[in-house]
Symmetry: D3
Subunit: 244 residues, 6 copies
C-alpha cells in the first residue's frame, strides 16, 4: 500500500497553528493540516441562550462554513441557497459538542463563546482541523478573560483535539487527505482529550463495513495522532503566553 | 446500579415489528423498542437523483420526523418552523448511510428507495429503531420488486440493524430508554451487519469523556444486541414470505 | 348509482376512536373513518399567544400534517420542502376555527390547547376525521384540567364533529372515500354542533356547479351523519370516565 | 337592527368595474365594492404547469395580495416576511378554484391564465371583490385571444361572481363591510354562476353557530346579490365590445 | 437623436401627485411620472426598531414592491417566491436612506415612519418616482403629527426629490422611460435636496463607461429636473394645507 | 483635519495583491487595503444562466460574504440566518456589474465566471477591495483560458478598479478606513476603467447632503487613486506572466 501523499500509515500531515491570523476576535487562529486551511475565531458574548438564562452557567457553540471555492469544484454558497446543508449542520454540532466537553460551563459563568470555523481551503479533514484549531481559539479567548480578571479560575477541563483515521486500500491510516478520503472504505473521526479518553467517535463505512480488528487499529492510530496534536496546541498556546 | 426500567445491563427492551401497519407503501412497518414507536415506510420510485443519472445504479435515502407530541413536551412542528433542525438532518443522514451500506446499488438498477421514519411516540433510541425498522421496510419493498420481476437478483448485501449503548451510573448498558439517555454520561449508537462488522459507530460523551475500557465494553454489548435484532428482523421477514 | 365501497348513499364508513393511542399528550386519540387514520393529540400550555396576553382568555389552535407515504404516491415532506403548502394551511385553519367554536375561551383561562392532527393513512376525509378526533383529544385534555382542579368549570359549549358530503354520479352521498372524492363533482365539508347548528360549511364544485336542490340534499345527509358522529364521540368519552 | 352604513339588509354597496386600469396586462380591471378596491389583472402565458403538460388543456390560477397599508393598521409585507400567510393562501386558492369553474380548460388549449388580485384599499369583502373583478379581467384576456384568432371558440362556460352574506345583530345581511364583518357572528362567502348554481359556499360561525334557518336566509340574499353582480359584469364587458 | 417619446433631452415626463389616493394611511399619494404609477403611503408607529430604543430619536424606513403585472411581462410575486430579490432590496434601501436624509430624527421623537412604495404600473424610473412621492406621503404624515400636537416642531430639514438621467444614443437625457432605459448606455439616479445638494448619486454604465464630460452633463440635467420636482411637491403639499 | 490613520487626504492605504492565496480556483488572490483583507476567487464554468442560453455570449457574476468575526463585533452568519441581507445583495450586485463592464461577453463565449469575494478581516472599503481584487482573480482565470486555448482572444476590454472617497471632517479624503467611514458625512464608491471613465458612481450622504463642489473634489481624488490601483493590478498580473 502506497498513500497518494507518500506518507507512512501512522504519519500525520504537517500541522500549523498561526495565532492572531485575523485581528478582531478574542481568539483567532489559522489551522493548517497540510493543504486544509481553516480560520477559527472565538467570540465572547456576555449573554447566554434563553434556555440557559438564570442557570449560572455559560455556553460554547460553533458554526462551520466553507468558502464556495475552498474545494476543487465550486460549491453553492449556503447564504445564497438560503440554508445550511445537512453536512454543515452535522459538522458544526460535532465541533460544538466537542469543545463544550472541554469546558466546565459553570466556571465559565453566564457568558457564551462562539467558535466560527471557516474553511478557506479544503483537502480532507476540515472538521478535525476545525476542532483542533477551534480549541486553541477558545483557549485564547479564555486566557483573555482570565487576564482581564473576568474569570477567576480557568474553566478548561482538559485539552481536546481531533484527527481522522480510515482504512485505505485495506490498511488503517492516520489523517486522511482528500484523495484518500474519497476512496477510503471507512472514515472515522476521533475527538479525544489529553488523557486519551474519547469525546467523540464517529466512524462510517463507505461501502464495506469494517471489522472489530480494523476498528481497534484505527483507534490506536488516532490515539497516537491526537497526542501529538495536543502537544502542538500546547506549544502554540505557551508561545502566546511568553509573548505577553 | 439499578436501571430505571429494572432491566439488566445487557437486556434490550421488548422489540416488535408490525408489518403492513399502513397500507399504501411498498414496504411498511411499525417498529417498537419498548415505548418508542416509529412508522417506517419504503417507497420505490423509478428515477434517481440527478447526480446519479445515467450511472446504471440506484439510490437509497431516508427522511426522519417526529410528531410534535411524540415527546413529553410538545416540540415545534418542523414543517411550520420552515426547516428541519440540525438533529433531524443528522439522524436522517445516518439512517440513509446505514441502509445504503446494506444494498448493492448497482444491482438495484436506476431506481430510488425512500425510507420515511416518523416517530409517533418517543422514549429514547428513535434513530436506532428507525434503522432497524427501516431495513425491514426496505426489504419488503425489495421483495416486492423481486416478486414483480422488476429485479432479477436481490440487491441486499447483508442485514443491518442498530442499537444504542451507553454508560449509565458508571456501568455500560444496552438500549437506553429516555430516562437513562437523559442522564447517561455517554451515548453511543452502533449500526452493524449480520456478520458483526461495523457500519457506523457514533459515540458522544455528554460530560465526562469515556475510557478505552468503557468503549470496548459498550462495543461488546452492542454487538450482542444487534445480533438479536437481526434475528427479529429475519423472523419478521420470513413470516411475510410464508404468508405469501 | 353504485358507490365503489358498496355503501348506501347515507351510509358512513366505520368510525373508530382509540383513546390513549400515544402516551405523552394530555389528550390523544387515533381516529379512523374507514381506512383514513389520523393521530390527534391535545397539548395544554399555560401561556397564550402574544395577541391575547392579559385578556383573561385562552386559545385553541391546530396543526395538520400528513406522513409522506400516508397516500398512494409519496408526497414531499413539508418540513423538508421548507414550508407548509396552501392545502395544509387551509385545513389546519379550518380545524382550529371549528374547535375554538366549541369552547368558551374565557372559561378556559389564560392557557392554550394545541391540537395536532397527523394523518398516518389517507383515504379521503382527513380533515373531517381530524375535526371529529381533535374534538375528543381536546375534551380529554379539558377533562384532565378539570380533574386536576386547574379548571373549575367545563369550558366546552357543545360537541362538534365533521363529515363530508358530495354529489357522486349525480347523487348526494355521505362521507366520501378517496375513490369517490377524486371523481365527485362536488365536495362539501360540514362542521356542526350537537344541536344541528352549523359551525362551518365549505362546499366546492369541482367541475359542474351544484344546484340549490343538491345543496339541500347534502346538508340533510350531513346533519344526520354528524348526529351519529357525536354519539360516537360521547360514547368514547364516557368510556374514559368509567375507566377512571 | 341598523347597519353601520345605513344600508338595508339586502342592499349591496356601490360596485364599480373600471377596465384598463393598468395598461400592460391582457386583462385589467379595478373593482370597487364601496371602499374596497382591488386591482385585478389577467396574464396569458403560452405554457401550462408541469403536471398538465401534454394533456391538451389549459390552466387558470390566481394570486392574491394586500398592500401593507391597504388596511387600518399596517400589515407586514409578505414578501419581506418571506412567506404568504395562511389567510392569503386560503383566499388565492378560493379565487383560483372559482375562476377555473367558469372555464372549459380543454377549450382554453395549452395555455395558462394568471389572475393577480392586489388589494389597494380594504373595507371588507376583498375576496368576493377579487373573484368578481378577476372574472372580468379573465374574460378580457379571453376576448383578446379570440380577437387575435388564438382561440376559435369561447372557453367561458358561464359568468361567475361572488358576494358575502352574514348574520349581523341577529339579522341576515348582504355584502358586509369591515365594520359589520368584524362584529358579525357569521360570515359566508358565496360564489355562484349566472344560472344560480353554487360554485363555492364557505360559511364560518365566528362565535355562535348558525341555524339551518339562518343559512337558508343567507343563501337567498346571496343569490339575489350575485345575480345583480353578474349584470354589472355583463354591462362592463359589453361596453368593452362596443368600444372596440 | 430622437427620443422615443418625442421629448427634448431636458424634458421630464408629466408628473402628477394625487394625495389621499387611498384612505387608511397617515400619508398617501399616487405619484405618476408619465405611465409610471406608484402608490406611496406613510405609516406612523409609536415605536422604534430595537437598535434605537432609548436613544431619543426616531426612524424612517421604506419598503418597495411591484405588482406582478405592473410590467410588460408578468414577474413572479416576491411573497410567493419567499423572498425579496436583490433589486428590490437595493431600491428600498435607497428610498429609506434618501428620506432619512430629509428628516431630523431627533426632532421626530421615538417613533417610526414606514414608507411603502408599490408600483402599480411601470414605465421606467420607479425608484425616482417612489422617492419623490414617498417624500410627499411622509410630509403628509408629519403634517398630521404637527396638527395633532404630537410634534411641536417640524422635523423636515429640506425637501428631497429624485430623477433619473442617462446617456441615450450618445446624448444626455433627463427622466428616462422604459424604452430609453433599456437601451441607454448609462443610467444614473440622482437624489437632491431643495438647495441643489446631493443626497445620493448612483450611476451605472451598462456597457461603455461614461466620461467625466458626460457625467457633468448628466448632473446638470438632473439638478434642473429635481428643482422642478420640488416645485411640484410644494404645490401639492400647499394644496393640502389650503384644503384643511 | 487629521485623519485617524495619520494619512494625507489623497493617500491610500497600503495595497497588496497576493496571487494563488488558495489553490483550487482558476483565479485566486488575497487583496489587502490596509487591514481590510478579502479572498477573491474566480471560477470558470462551461455553462451560462438559462436567460442567456443560445445567445453566444458568456456571463460574469459575483457573490460577497463576510466571515462572522471579520468585524469588531460578531455578525450573524448569513447561511445560518437563512438569507443574505440587503447590504450583501447590494454589494454583490455592484461587484458583478463592475466586472461585467470590463469584459466583452461575446468574446468570452458560452461560459460563466463566478467571482467570490469573502472578507476575512474588515476595516472599511470591503466592496472596493473586492472589485479591485476580483478583477485580478478574473484576469487570472481568463489568462488560464487563453493559455489552454479555450479562448482565442482576450475578452477583457479594460482594467477596472475601485476606491472609496468621502468627506471627513469637512475635507475630501481618499480610501476611508472603518474609523473614518463610520464618522464621515459622505461616502462614495467609485469604479473606473484605465482610461479614467466611470463604471459606477455611488455616493451617499450620511447626514448632511454634499455640494457640487465637494462632489467634484471627491471625483478627482478617486480618479487619481484608481489610476494607482490599476498600476498595482498590472504589476501583479505581469508578475504572473513572467513566473509562467
Amino acid at each position: 500500500m502506497q498513500r497518494p501523499s507518500g506518507r507512512k500509515p501512522e504519519e500525520m500531515r504537517s500541522v500549523r497553528l498561526t495565532k492572531h491570523f485575523t485581528k478582531h476576535a478574542e481568539g483567532s487562529v489559522l489551522v493548517e493540516f497540510g493543504d486544509t486551511k481553516v480560520i477559527c475565531t472565538a467570540t465572547v458574548e456576555e449573554t447566554v441562550p434563553s434556555f440557559l438564562r438564570g442557570k449560572s452557567q455559560g455556553w460554547v457553540t460553533a458554526e462551520y462554513g466553507m468558502l464556495p471555492r475552498s474545494t476543487g469544484t465550486r460549491m453553492r454558497r449556503e447564504a445564497s441557497a438560503g440554508k445550511q446543508g445537512g453536512r454543515t449542520q452535522e459538522i458544526q454540532r460535532l465541533i460544538g459538542r466537542s469543545l463544550r466537553a472541554a469546558v466546565d460551563l459553570k466556571k465559565l459563568g453566564e457568558r457564551s463563546i462562539y467558535i466560527d470555523c471557516d474553511v478557506i481551503q479544503a483537502d480532507g479533514g476540515t472538521r478535525t482541523a476545525s476542532i483542533t484549531g477551534g480549541f486553541v481559539a477558545m483557549a485564547m479567548a479564555i486566557n483573555g478573560l482570565l487576564a482581564e480578571g473576568l474569570l477567576k479560575e480557568n474553566p478548561i477541563l482538559h485539552f481536546v483535539a481531533s484527527v481522522s483515521v480510515g482504512v485505505y486500500e485495506g490498511e488503517p491510516v492516520l489523517d486522511l487527505d482528500y484523495l484518500e478520503d474519497s476512496s477510503a472504505h471507512t472514515d472515522m473521526n476521533l475527538v479525544m482529550d489529553e488523557s486519551g479518553r474519547f469525546v467523540e467517535v464517529q466512524g462510517t463505512a463507505e461501502g464495506v463495513p469494517y471489522t472489530m480488528h480494523e476498528l481497534q487499529a484505527m483507534l490506536a492510530l488516532g490515539q497516537a495522532g491526537i497526542s501529538k496534536l495536543i502537544d502542538i496546541q500546547k506549544a502554540a498556546l505557551n508561545a502566546e503566553k511568553s509573548e505577553a
